[in-house]
């Protein structure tokens, strides 16, 4: 019974946060002179209204699923990887360079790109991991610094080394582009890869003994160390895998939708991923659902701007408010005062029914 109640609050907090965030979003829309109901309807229809828009939403969700799983996996092991963006970009950049310079075509080229991207992302994740376990450094600052380095390195590629006339790289060869699965819907095999990674993570974390140990390290490092778990190895592993997921995401997104490196690519994906993982309470499946929800918000926002004139940045605010409320909500439900309040409520109810 207690467990049921607990899972109810776990589920309720994000849902209430979303409703609250949308409520404030509606107030902002009204303040801008738009009809909130109309704008919300446009938002919803833009995201889910037709087959095409669902396809666009899922396509937008693909990179977000990768970066949110990237954040989710590391945080499960108790380390906060804020370098998802850098790992994503270094993956995309490495994949692009590999297929561009080797001239590989077709399926072998695709596989080459994905593998190189994954490895590059893993190496990029290895750096903060190694510095954490050997020098005791704060992994967050290091991984954020590496985001900037990765973004600038991508800049070197598209403004100097592999530049077209414009400051951007040429697109990848047509034979390398990941195919769409359903005609009329924009998402590609990259989505399938993303979902597969999510399911695999779920299986690993909850159904294998290594996954259990990894979660144990995340929950209590000291206790895990006393139990003889190789804590440092798990931390390093979580960073490398997390980075590899980010890198794979970059490679898959490059071959699936982006095709070329260009200014502003991938900006914000990493932090958004962390937010989604937190709202999804670090559960891989829930995290993927949240990523799709956020993608819907973005797809819908564009439609909303076209039909009602409400700027897309309203959806950014709604998105940020969801995380602000849900994290605060989770903290609130963990307070002893709240627990006492909840017990008083339930005991009162019990008294009435008796």
């Amino acid at each position: 019974m207690g467990k049921l109640k607990k899972s109810l609050t776990v589920f309720l907090v994000p849902v209430l946060s979303i409703l609250l965030a949308f409520g404030i979003g509606a107030i902002i829309m009204a303040a801008l002179g738009a009809n909130p109901a109309e704008a919300m309807k446009a938002l919803f229809q833009g995201a889910f209204g037709s087959k095409g828009s669902i396809g666009t939403t899922l396509n937008k969700a693909t990179p977000l699923i990768f970066t949110s799983l990237c954040a989710c996996f590391a945080y499960k092991c108790g380390v906060l990887n804020l370098g998802g963006e850098g790992q994503f970009l270094i993956g995309a950049t490495a994949a692009f360079c590999a297929v561009h310079c080797s001239g590989a075509m077709g399926l072998p080229g695709i596989l080459l790109g994905l593998v190189v991207g994954t490895v590059a992302g893993g190496i990029w994740g290895l750096i903060p991991g190694i510095l954490k376990i050997t020098r005791g450094l704060n992994e967050m600052i290091i991984s954020i610094m590496l985001n900037y380095v990765a973004t600038l390195f991508m800049g070197v590629i598209y403004t100097s080394w592999l530049r077209e006339k414009m400051p951007q790289t040429p697109p990848v060869d047509n034979s390398l582009k990941l195919a769409r699965i359903i005609p009329g819907m924009r998402f590609t095999w990259a989505l399938v890869i993303a979902l597969a990674v999510g399911l695999l993570l779920y299986y690993f974390l909850y159904w294998t003994s290594s996954g259990f140990k990894l979660r144990a390290v995340g929950l209590n490092m000291t206790a895990s160390r006393f139990n003889g778990f190789p804590v440092k190895r798990y931390i390093l592993l979580s960073f490398v895998v997390s980075g590899a997921i980010g890198g794979l995401g970059g490679a898959a997104d490059l071959l699936g939708t982006q095709f070329r490196l260009i200014n502003g690519y991938g900006a914000g994906y990493g932090f958004d991923g962390v937010a989604m993982a937190l709202i999804g309470q670090l559960h891989p499946i829930a995290t993927m659902v949240v990523a799709i929800f956020f993608a819907a918000l973005r797809t819908g926002a564009t439609a909303m701007q076209v039909s009602t004139g409400v700027p897309t940045s309203v959806s950014d605010i709604i998105q940020a408010l969801v995380i602000v409320f849900s994290v605060a909500g989770m903290a609130l439900t963990a307070l002893p005062e709240f627990e006492a309040f909840r017990l008083r409520l339930t005991s009162k109810k019990g008294g009435e029914s008796a």
Binding site: I127, R135, G136, L152, F271, L278, P311, I317
Partner: protein
């Protein structure tokens, strides 16, 4: 290496170090009270926008600075409420602020100035030019030809050092970050202190952001803070949680920034992004050398629960 070159690099060092110094002091005041705030980047972004808008509307840079500080305090109160009162995880909530604050800033900018508007400009804060003294070679332009904000930043460093090391209030303040329970038994209002720390932190990082628009760049662009909020956290570690240490760290990062701009101009054959990487790579290298997380306040980043034993 001509004298003029060295002077210009040193001058740029000071100019680049000052915004970082404000934000680093914000981090220092926050962490001394046990509050790890990685939302500084977002706070500075809000401060930058608030400072820019106020200066744009009123024409007064000082109004902009003040308004930047107020905006920083306001946004940081969200963080304070969640972490102090609700005991949320500091880092996680800092992340939330980092998402909310820039979204808010760019939304307000777009609504106020219009979606596709060309870049609005403001006039920068004038420099104080001390007659005669500014003509001294080397140190003249460095020390006597700066904006008042530069002097304010350096005065703040001295004030901070005195406050933390020489005053009773400073010791009380530090006690909250070292051992909040012991502090509470001595009758210190720990919760109030932590809120105060968040207000100081918000104000200083807001000023740091406002400096960027009112004394440095003339326009507001998204991403204007460009990682200074995170580098500030590194500067506090590098500076061993002391005012003087933070100053040295900020001057070092300022020098990296000044050098990278110089190098960009002087060697066109190497892609300029490699030079832009210097401050970020330097941060990683410096942290790797300095290392260790043990030096900071003992209760840094740990939520304080009153009733817990």
């Amino acid at each position: 290496m001509s004298g003029a070159f060295i002077t210009s690099v040193l001058e740029a060092t000071v100019r680049m170090a000052v915004p970082l110094l404000f934000i680093s002091l914000a981090a220092l005041y926050s962490e001394r009270a046990g509050m790890v705030n990685i939302g500084l980047e977002g706070l500075a972004a809000v401060g930058a926008l608030a400072g820019f808008m106020m200066t744009y509307i009123t024409g007064s840079c000082w109004g902009g600075i003040l308004f930047g500080a107020l905006a920083g305090i306001l946004v940081n109160m969200i963080y304070a409420f969640a972490t102090v009162t609700l005991c949320a995880n500091h880092t996680v909530y800092g992340m939330a602020v980092n998402l909310l604050a820039p979204a808010l800033a760019s939304f307000i900018y777009r609504v106020y100035f219009g979606e596709g508007s060309s870049l609005m400009q403001i006039t920068l804060m004038p420099k104080i030019q001390v007659p005669v003294l500014q003509d001294i070679p080397f140190v003249g332009p460095l020390l006597f030809k700066q904006t008042p904000m530069v002097y304010l930043a350096f005065a703040l460093v001295i004030l901070t050092s005195v406050f933390f090391n020489r005053t009773k209030a400073g010791l009380t303040y530090k006690a909250v970050g070292e051992h909040p329970k012991a502090a509470a038994t001595l009758g210190i209002n720990v919760i109030g202190m932590k809120y105060l720390a968040c207000a100081i932190c918000g104000a200083l990082s807001g000023i740091g952001g406002a400096y960027l628009t009112t004394c440095y760049s003339t326009t507001y662009t998204e991403g204007i803070v460009s990682g200074r909020g995170f580098i500030a956290l590194a500067a506090v570690i590098f500076g061993r949680w002391t005012g003087g240490g933070v100053l040295i760290a900020c001057l070092f990062f300022g020098l990296c920034d000044a050098l990278q701009i110089r190098l960009q101009v002087s060697s066109m054959s190497i892609p300029y992004q490699f030079f832009q990487m210097i401050p970020y790579v330097a941060t990683v290298v410096v942290l790797a050398i300095v290392g260790s997380k043990k030096a900071g306040p003992k209760a840094n980043g740990i939520p304080y629960r009153k009733e817990e034993r």
